[in-house]
Symmetry: none
Subunit: 201 residues, 4 copies
DNA sequence: GATGAATGAGACTTCATTCAT
DNA sequence: CATGAATGAAGTCTCATTCAT
């Protein structure tokens, strides 16, 4: 019994390791240019073995998106420890700034995956990517709401959109300073909301 | 001589037709999922013939980016006919709105190509995509400058970034209303600049 | 463990089988006129599987050259069992005679491969072919040296050159008797050296 | 009339130019690695035009062999001006020495073409290459005969074989000194025949 | 005859997926 | 479960040859 639990745990760990490897490699190389062998190699798992954990490559992509969602949850969970919603949002923006070098090289993980998946005939994976962005939007709206800002959903959409925009431009121009500057603007905007609603971003 | 000119023109036209087909199909299917046969079929040309005009698939991608650049130039040339820079910028934003359905389905052509190209080891095509975005940014900065807005480059970067962001989100959520709403916000922002500089977006 | 060794052995055997098939077909059809499908078919293996063992066609060519080198080694190892160097060299020449029909049809395996490879821009495979010929030359020189013939390297070069020449001519004229006659001459020459050095071939 | 003759002459010149270009490029790149475009480009002729002079690629190969035969005839015609057969043969060997650098890079033109053609299912071109070698052999035999050496055909075969051998080895080892040394040996051999028959090569 | 363009067969290579042990 | 090996569909690219003007 203990043995079987161990096994189950071990299996779960291997699944996780594969998902994490997939998240990493797919972010860096894109979906279509990444082979299963790349992911297996990154995870230190024999190629043939991958299929015991994921029946198709698409399932690995799905797992990678799940991984990104989990990381987002960890991030927001951390931010939730800050007392003021306003500070949480500022910290979110600062997180983006701290990732600017990676963004310049590989773009936003979820955003670029969504861009690639959005052109498929089959929508299911694309929707999964969209869900991760919506999850961020929902959390952000909750902050605006808690803060008492009117139209919290609109403000959230604007902030997430701004993140996608600055990530895309940072990536396209390979210039981390795009992130720095846009983030500064966003922080000013957040501060301007503090004084009270009325000033549109 | 007339004959040879005709031929040269015809060849150039076919090249252009292939480039246009490539621009369309690559936008809709992404680079890696598009085969040369797809492009050849879209252009109504046998596959083998494509190689008479473009030696590699990458050259076709490059041509597609050139096509997008040309369309951008046509767009801005049209906008330049408007007398006031402020109106040109408003019209730009409204152009984006008019494209919202296509954006919801396939994303911003240049932006999604840049996202896909940015993960390659070889930078040259990615840089080409970045150049198209920078071209838009330069034109935009020129409008802000003509308008007398301070920090025109910063404002231009913000506007282009906003476009990339709203396109990415519109695409990821398959929701054209994202574009509509963000565009509305941008128009307010442009109007607020009219009153005089000082109010940050 | 036994299992894994078995597998490794099996894999090595298949690699060898492919290399042997390549050596055969490349000898008979030449490099450029031989397709991977030809080699796969000769080895009784599906085409796709070939790439599990050899990443490119050139690697198969390299393996074929290795095969020829191995056969040369087996040949000289057999000759080394003869007590007198002089007899070993005579036996070498007689081996050539025994292969005259194949030579008339397809030429010397190493020699014709070298001829084809020598015209490439990239030298690496050509050098490999040259190394096989040099290996024969080295063994031959060792025999002359052991025999006490002066200038053993010169004599070896002459013998190997004679072999290449008679093989080329036998092949070009499709006439095995060229080999027979030139071999007779070479045997006389070897005998003349027996009496003592001094008589140039 | 003059006009038509001019035209016929011009056409013949173009044919010749193409054949010469083919001889050159095929020698340097081998048959299979040379494209019709390569030859057309080398001759300064548009690709489509080649087919008015040669209906297939194989006919161009045949023409290239004819070109090599013509050059051989020019060579022997020049040697025929020397009074003594013995000197003609010495001069022949010295011609080979003078070509050693080209041989090291590309091998003997006729020999390497023969090697490549000899592996085809269809014999006709291969026979053409063999005929060029036999032509050299015939001329050589005539010299030995005029000189009074017995078994002139055997001696001729040996000399031509020696040339093929030293060319092949020079090419395979990319070492022109192979030619120099073997040529020295051949000159000694020719001199030894001068004293009178009896000493076998 | 001359020429740029067209065509289609076929080559090499990659890779997701499956299989046998 | 584990794993090296197997498979075949598909993609990119080349090129001899033909065609239209």
């Amino acid at each position: 019994m203990t043995n079987s639990v161990d096994r189950r745990t071990q299996a779960a760990q291997k699944r996780r390791r594969l998902a994490a490897a997939a998240a990493r490699v797919l972010h860096e190389q894109g979906i279509e240019r990444t082979t299963l062998a790349d992911i297996a190699h990154e995870a230190g798992v024999p190629v043939g073995n991958v299929y015991y954990y994921f029946k198709t490559k698409d399932e690995l992509v799905r797992a990678a998106l799940g991984e990104h969602r989990d990381r987002l949850d960890e991030l927001t969970a951390g931010l939730d420890r800050l007392p003021a919603p306003h500070d949480r949002l500022r910290a979110l923006v600062e997180t983006w700034v701290s990732q600017r070098e990676t963004t310049a090289r590989y773009g936003c993980p979820t955003g670029t995956l969504a861009a690639e998946l959005g052109k498929r005939a089959d929508d299911s994976l694309h929707a999964e990517a969209g869900a991760v962005l919506r999850r961020l939007s929902d959390w952000t709206a909750a902050q605006f709401r808690a803060w008492g800002v009117p139209d919290p959903d609109d403000h959230a959409r604007t902030l997430v959109s701004a993140h996608q925009g600055m990530s895309a431009l940072t990536h396209a121009l390979r210039d981390p300073s795009v992130t720095t500057r846009e983030a500064t603007r966003l922080l000013h905007w957040l501060d301007s909301l503090r004084a009270g609603p009325g000033i549109s971003p």
